[in-house]
Symmetry: C2
Subunit: 239 residues, 2 copies
C-alpha cells in the first residue's frame, strides 16, 4: 500500500521538485498536481467530469445533472460538514499560491509526478482552470465528491465517496490514489471511523486498485434504491 | 404498494380512532404507534436497539457503540441536515400531545394498528419511553437513522438510511413500512431524488419487503470499505 509508506526525505537537489523521492532519477516531464477544495466557479468543469464519468459507467441515460442544478445544490454548507468536492488540477509548471485557494479548512496539497513522456490532453482547453491564469497552464484532471455518513456500530461518522473520477489521459499515474488518499487522510484527521464507496462488480481494474489502497470489498450487501415515480408516490402516503 | 394508496377518509365513528380505515372492523387490540424525531434522552433506547440489530445481522463483533459515543456524535445539527433519527413508539393507549415532541421540523405522526391478539413484549420495561409517562404505557419499538446523501447524476440530495429496525415482537404489523414511508415522504417533501439503503443478500424477507415498497435492488454494485488500521495508515500518507 504505497500511500501508507513513510514519507520520503526531501531531495537535496535544488533544481529538483521537493517531493521527488531520494534515489530516483527525475525524468523528463514533470507533471505538477494539486488537490484543493472546489469553488462554485469550478461547476462547469465538474459538470463535464460528471458526464464523462456517466459515459464510462455506461449510465449516461441516468445523468441529468446541469450546471444550474449542481450550482443550486452544492456549496450549501462548510467543507466536510456536508457535500464536499476536491478538485484535482495538473500543470506542466509549478502551481503558485493564491489567496483564493488558501482555504484554512483545507490548504491545497501538491505533488510532482515524473513522466517519461508528455501527456497529450485533447480536452485541455475545455478543462483549463482558474489556476492556469495564475500558475501557468493548469487544467482540471479529476475530482472526488464525498460527504459524512454514520456507522451506528462504530458510533462514529465517516466519509462516503459518491464519485471519484480522473480523466482518461491522466489515469495510471497515481492521481486517483492521490484523491482517495486525500479523503482517507482527512477522515483520519477528523477522527472518523470509515471511508466507503461503491464499485461496479465488472470494473476489475477499479476493484484491484481499491484493494491495493487497503479497502475491503463487501460481497454480501446490496444497494436498495427508491427513486422516480416509486419515490414520489410517497408524497401523499398515509403512514 | 400499500403506502402509496390514497389515504382513507376519516372514520365517522366517534369512539373509533381517527385513522381506522372506513369499512374495516376495529379489532380487539388497538396498538397506537407514533413516529417522532429522536431526542438526546432516547440514546439509551437507541443504544439497545443498535445492539439488538447487530445480533440479528450476525455482526455483534463489529458493534462497539456505547451510550457515550452515540451521545457525542449524534444530535450535532438540525434534523435532516445531517444524521437524523426517527423513533417509533407504541402504546396500548392513545398518545397525548406534549410540547417536548412538537418539534416544528417534524410534528409526530401517529397511526393505529388493530391487532387480533395483544403483543407480549418481554422487554417492555427495558424500552419504556418518556412518552409513557405522559401517554400511558408507551415504549420504544424501533428506529430509523438516516442522513443526506448526494447523487451527481441527478444533481440532487437524497436520504441514505443507515439503519431501520423494529423489535422482534412488533414485526409484521406494518411498523417497518411506517418508518420507511416516513423517510420517503420526508424526502419527497424536501424535493430529494432518492432514498437508498443496503440489505444483506441472504435476507430474503427484507428484500421482498423493500421491493414491495417500490425499491429496486441494484445487483451490480459492491460496497468498498476502508476502516481500522488500513484507514489509520493514511494519517501520515504522503499524497
Amino acid at each position: 500500500m504505497a500511500a501508507a509508506a513513510p514519507p520520503p526525505p526531501p531531495s537535496p537537489a535544488p533544481e529538483a521538485p521537493n517531493d521527488v523521492p531520494q534515489g530516483s532519477t527525475p525524468r523528463g516531464h514533470p507533471l505538477f498536481a494539486r488537490i484543493r477544495l472546489a469553488h462554485p466557479t469550478d461547476v462547469p468543469h465538474i459538470h463535464k467530469l460528471i458526464h464523462q464519468m456517466a459515459v464510462f459507467e455506461r449510465l449516461s441515460d441516468q445523468c441529468i445533472a446541469t450546471e444550474a442544478s449542481l450550482s443550486s445544490t452544492l456549496f450549501t454548507s462548510p467543507p466536510f460538514q456536508s457535500f464536499t468536492i476536491f478538485v484535482l488540477e495538473v500543470s506542466h509548471t509549478p502551481f503558485v499560491e493564491h489567496l483564493q485557494y488558501n482555504n484554512p479548512a483545507y490548504p491545497p496539497i501538491t505533488k510532482v509526478v515524473n513522466l517519461d513522456l508528455p501527456i497529450n490532453d485533447p480536452d485541455r482547453d475545455l478543462f483549463r482552470s482558474n489556476g492556469g491564469v495564475l500558475g501557468g497552464d493548469a487544467c482540471v484532471a479529476g475530482f472526488v465528491l464525498f460527504f459524512p455518513n454514520y456507522s451506528t456500530f462504530l458510533a462514529k461518522p465517516g466519509f462516503y465517496i459518491e464519485d471519484l473520477f480522473v480523466r482518461e489521459c491522466y489515469r495510471r499515474k497515481g492521481l486517483g490514489k492521490m484523491l482517495l488518499s486525500a479523503v482517507a487522510k482527512q477522515a483520519v484527521k477528523m477522527g472518523y471511523g470509515r471511508v466507503e464507496w461503491v464499485v461496479l462488480d465488472w470494473n476489475v481494474n477499479a476493484i484491484r486498485f481499491y484493494e491495493e489502497m487497503g479497502a475491503k470489498i463487501l460481497q454480501e450487501w446490496r444497494i436498495c434504491r427508491l427513486t422516480g415515480d416509486a419515490l414520489n408516490a410517497y408524497v401523499n402516503a398515509q403512514l
